[in-house]
Amino acid sequence: MATGVKPRVKVPGSASAGEVITIKTLISHQMESGQRKDSDGNKIPRSIINRFTCEFNGQSVLDMTLEPAISTNPYVEFQATVPETGEFKFTWYDDDGDVYEDSKPITVG
C-alpha cells in the first residue's frame, strides 16, 4: 500500500555516559487520514503509521501511538539518556502490517 516510505533519523555519533541527547526522526509516509474523499466522492481508506517505538539496547525510550491527526511525514523529536555504548533501534508500524526499522549506533567515550 504505502510506497516510498523512507525513515530518517538523526542521532549524535558520540556522547558522554549518562548524557541526555536529542533524537529527531522523520519518516516519509502519506498518513492517509480516512477522512478525505477522492474526485468521485469515495472515501479514501485510512492508511497511517499507528505506532512508533524507540529502544536503546533493548530498553524502551519512547513508545508512541499515532492517530490520523498526525501530519503527513510524521516527525517526532524527543530526548534519550545514553548510559553506555550501544545502538538505538527505531521501529514504525504501518496499518497494513508493514514494519519499518532503522538503527543508529552511538559511542560513549
Binding site: 541527547i21 525510550v61 491527526a69 534519550a80 539518556t81
Partner: protein
C-alpha cells in the same frame, strides 16, 4: 410563507440546537477518551506543559510540543477534529526527559488538550486554543 412569532422562535431554537449537536457529540467523545485514560481520576492543573502556536496558518502541519517532568505517559487530544485522539506518548526508563514534539493536523480553530500521567499516578491536564486559518482534514 408566513411565520407566527411562536413558529419563528421554535425554528430558531431548532437551528441553534442542530448546530450545537455535532460539537456536543465530539465533547462527549473527548470526555470518554479522557475517562478511559485517567480512569475517572481527578486532574491537576500543574505538571504538564503544552507548546503550540497561537495561530497556525496551515492546519495540515501544526508544530506542537508536550512536556511533563516525571510523567509515564502523555495523551494528546484535539477536541474539534473529526476524530479527537491525536497521539499518546509512553516514556520508557531511558527517556532523557518527558518531552516530545511532533506535527499534527487540526481541522479548524479549536482547543488542543494534553493530559499527563505523572510518576506518582496522578494526572495533570492542560489545554491551549489554536487558531487555524486553513483546515487540515480535507473533506
Amino acid at each position: 410563507m408566513d411565520f407566527t412569532r411562536r413558529e419563528t422562535l421554535a425554528l430558531g431554537a431548532g437551528a441553534a440546537l442542530l448546530s450545537f449537536l455535532p460539537f456536543r457529540a465530539n465533547a462527549a467523545a473527548v470526555d470518554d477518551l479522557i475517562a478511559e485514560f485517567t480512569g475517572g481520576a481527578e486532574m491537576a492543573d500543574a505538571g504538564v506543559e503544552l507548546n503550540a502556536p497561537e495561530i497556525a496558518e496551515n492546519g495540515n502541519t501544526v508544530p506542537i510540543e508536550v512536556s511533563a517532568p516525571g510523567a509515564s505517559a502523555i495523551l494528546l487530544l484535539a477536541a474539534g477534529n473529526p476524530t479527537p485522539p491525536v497521539a499518546k506518548f509512553g516514556f520508557g526508563p531511558l527517556a532523557g526527559s518527558q518531552t516530545a514534539s511532533t506535527r499534527i493536523r487540526l481541522a479548524g480553530t479549536q482547543e488542543v488538550i494534553a493530559i499527563a500521567q505523572l510518576g506518582d499516578g496522578t494526572f495533570a491536564r492542560t489545554s491551549k486554543t489554536v487558531k487555524v486559518t486553513i483546515g487540515g482534514c480535507g473533506g
